[in-house]
């Protein structure tokens, strides 16, 4: 486990193996939402910091170090660290790994796709986001999958409006993914996020009309579609975390934390630059 300075407050679930229990409202106060903007900004910047290190030969462990240090340096706890026993500060999922990949000593190779999922916990709230990046030159198939997964996320976000059922998000995402014959992972979903990391609110990325929760202003949750080139069926490694496609087909994922507003939604995981993370090509580090 990486060291977290004592000055960085830990979330209540850190080091606890049991599932979180949240029984409060899904609608958050203006104060919580304002705090989530800050948590979201730090989480987004931490992804950009890690992504700027991506190149063939770099290990996912190194990406973990960069993310961990960035979050701690900015007073945020890496929410993944010790969350129900997860051993690292960020999830790095490569190629056929859909999500919850544990950073390790495997070097990235030219042509890989790597998903970086980082959550910051600061001032009692979370900001959770994920993006898919290219390692060197990727295949056309992988590039299109990445671009379309990002587009699927933004279509889902566009469908967010108060008064609508949450199921419309999955309907929009799935109908778009189906156009290209992509699989939509069903077992892993978006979730309510605020003071709780996973509040119990479920956001499906496929069409399920029975999910009749109505969106209300002030609700905060993630949308994080995981699309696959082949079957969306999943399996899990014995480490209890790493989720990958059963057929070995590659997967891409994008995620944002957002709040439902009076007229639509606001993305809370916006980097300091003000420009949303696009994923794909690795961002260049700022010139010093």
């Amino acid at each position: 486990m990486r060291h977290v300075p004592a000055s960085v407050p830990k979330p209540p679930y850190a080091g606890v193996m049991a599932a979180e229990h949240y029984e409060g409202s899904h609608v958050q106060s203006a104060e919580v939402i304002a705090a989530m903007r800050e948590a979201g900004r730090i989480a987004a910047d931490s992804i950009l910091a890690a992504a700027s290190e991506i190149r063939p030969g770099v290990t996912t462990d190194h990406l973990d170090v960069v993310t961990h240090e960035y979050l701690c340096d900015h007073g945020a706890y890496p929410a993944s660290l010790d969350y129900r026993g997860f051993p690292k500060s960020v999830c790095t999922s490569v190629n056929e790994v859909i999500c919850h990949g544990i950073p390790d000593a495997r070097p990235l190779r030219d042509g890989d796709l790597v998903k970086i999922d980082s959550t910051a916990y600061i001032n009692g709230v979370h900001g959770d986001n994920c993006a898919t990046f290219y390692v060197g030159e990727v295949s056309e198939e992988a590039r299109l999958l990445t671009e379309r997964t990002r587009e699927a996320l933004y279509r889902g976000i566009k469908a967010v409006k108060p008064g609508r059922p949450l199921s419309v998000i999955g309907r929009v995402i799935e109908s778009y993914a189906k156009r290209f014959g992509y699989g939509v992972v069903r077992e892993y979903t978006g979730h309510g996020v605020h003071t709780a990391f996973h509040s119990g609110l479920i956001v499906l990325h496929y069409d399920e009309p029975m999910l009749n929760t109505t969106m209300k202003p002030g609700m905060t949750f993630t949308i994080e579609p995981m699309l696959t080139l082949g079957s969306p069926r999943t399996k899990q490694w014995d480490d209890g975390w790493t989720v990958l496609t059963q057929d070995g087909s590659w997967s891409a994922q994008f995620e944002q934390t957002l709040v439902v507003t009076e007229t639509g939604s606001e993305i809370l995981t916006v980097p300091s630059s003000g420009e949303l993370i696009q994923g794909g090509e690795v961002p260049q580090p700022p010139l010093s």
Partner: protein
């Protein structure tokens, strides 16, 4: 006398029997759900004639002849005119007619498959827009606005969902040039988030005469992602834009109807009635 009386009685009885049969048939046509399709066709023939006489196509002599047989669609196009509303919506002094059809009734069902979420033509519409008076070809934005007007202000309110509560969000669109019926068209493809017509009826709507009365549904006007295709051509002499549209819940079904109906449509020009 005694020989005449039974014959007269027989004639009277026959006449009464015939009247009774006619009454039963009319009663069935009016009230029996199994006759909903025939009732709809009978009523829509009259309705359509009333609107057709004031339509853009009647006054210009230009009409889109769309082959509907064997497509699973209701077998006639219904005409509706909304000049003033469209003028206010797009701005200008415009003439607007929409011809539309929808999923046919299934045998022994009292309603169109437009209400059936399991049918490929759930929530589907197909037809033609006629917009006259813009002074030019419609822009892509105007094409979207016309489609929104049709769906959000005409179609959904007729089915009982007020335009205030109706959704029409354009998710994406693209345009390309195509050629059919010996003329140039601009083909717009789009996906749209909008309401589908499934709902549990509360009271009576006039549109039930047209579509039949829907069965109870566990969803009220659910939001659907619709695949739309509108092929637009412009006739400068009449200052008339014609848009052939198809909108269904699946890309494949939209492509099928586009192929079987839109691309087989003929723009027919008849002498203008005096």
């Amino acid at each position: 006398m005694s020989s005449v009386q039974p014959a007269r009685r027989r004639r009277r009885r026959r006449w009464l029997t015939a009247a009774l049969i006619v009454l039963v048939l009319l009663g069935n046509l009016a009230f029996n759900p199994w006759c909903a399709r025939w009732r709809s066709l009978a009523l829509m023939a009259g309705y359509d004639q009333a609107y057709e006489r004031a339509s853009v196509s009647y006054e210009t002599g230009v009409s889109a002849e769309m082959p509907l047989a064997g497509t699973g669609l209701y077998p006639r196009l219904i005409t509706f005119n909304a000049d003033e509303q469209m003028s206010a919506w797009l701005g200008g002094d415009l003439r607007f007619t929409v011809d539309f059809t929808f999923a046919d009734f299934e045998p022994w069902r009292g309603y169109s498959a437009i209400y059936d979420p399991d049918d490929p033509l759930f929530g589907a519409y197909l037809g033609a827009y006629y917009v006259q008076g813009l002074g030019r070809e419609m822009t892509a934005t105007e094409v979207t606005q016309v489609a929104e007007f049709d769906q959000r202000l005409l179609a959904l309110p007729a089915l009982g969902l007020s335009s205030r509560n109706a959704t029409f969000d354009l998710l994406d669109s693209s345009a390309s040039a195509i050629w059919f019926d010996d003329r140039q068209w601009t083909a717009y493809q789009a996906s749209v988030l909008t309401n589908c017509p499934a709902h549990t009826p509360e009271g009576f709507l006039l549109s039930y005469l047209q579509f039949g009365k829907p069965p109870a549904s566990d969803q009220q006007y659910p939001l659907c992602v619709m695949a739309a295709q509108i092929d637009v051509t412009y006739l400068p002499a009449e200052d008339l834009s014609i848009g052939l549209y198809v909108m269904t819940t699946s890309q494949d079904e939209t492509a099928r109807l586009h192929q079987e109906v839109s691309l087989q449509t003929q723009i027919v020009q008849r002498p203008v009635p005096r």
